[in-house]
Symmetry: C2
Subunit: 165 residues, 2 copies
Amino acid sequence: MILIPEGDTRERQVCPDCGFINYENPKIVVGSVVTFEGRVLLCRRAIDPRRGYWTLPAGYLEVNESASDGAKREAREEAAAEIAIDGLLAVYSIPRISQVQLIYRAHLVRPDFAPGPESLEVALFGWNEIPWSELAFPSVRWALDHYRDAASTLDFTARDNPAGL
Amino acid sequence: MILIPEGDTRERQVCPDCGFINYENPKIVVGSVVTFEGRVLLCRRAIDPRRGYWTLPAGYLEVNESASDGAKREAREEAAAEIAIDGLLAVYSIPRISQVQLIYRAHLVRPDFAPGPESLEVALFGWNEIPWSELAFPSVRWALDHYRDAASTLDFTARDNPAGL
């Protein structure tokens, strides 16, 4: 049931049987724009939502994991890729779904990759080859645009959501 | 009880009565190094842990809130201060307690502030006046050091944990 626990100021989900209070918190997604010799690594999703569409290696940060370690783990799980983190590219907030995305700039340590269980295929794309109309989520587009902007201006300050989004 | 739910790969806390699965996720702390005319705003904590010690205005991001809005809300709640965000200063990971801290650079919109319910006092400090030995948490020290470094070098790329920490 939903109620305001004693000493709290907001409604929380509480189990009427055991009294467990479910403090809902925003979730952290960690991911990266991974490049190799000027091309970008993308994964085609094998799972819903947006099965068949292309995305960055990214996913939920786990407990007891640093943000950059999480981004490296996701590249390993989704693309069997070893990456090195170059810096933080962007922090995107998606308050509608209580999500904060930490997107890093990274590069492949070796040009080896393969689809993990959550990917149909993994590939490197030149900027003119990216399947722009088949990207899985708006934030994938944001990150690719921000990466290209950072690489061309050499301004590596962390980006926020695009204006108005 | 603790068990691995069907289709999952990790142990989760599950209520034996109602079947509720508590997916534990890392928590996001949002805060800011707030300045006004070269001085830094700090809050002396009125609550445990570290009651009586000085900290940045910072706290847990709420659901349906963007990260920068959360940082502004914390400044309002803890210091009755209106702030403007200038950029992201740092992302600190504290995996031992499953916490990711997003610390912004910000400035006071007006030189007005007052202790909120969680603060004993709020004050502006010059760099030589900061109570370095009475800071509440290591990450407060990290953020102040990183802020000073960014301001002096004009390198505003987001900082990570200090090396080895």
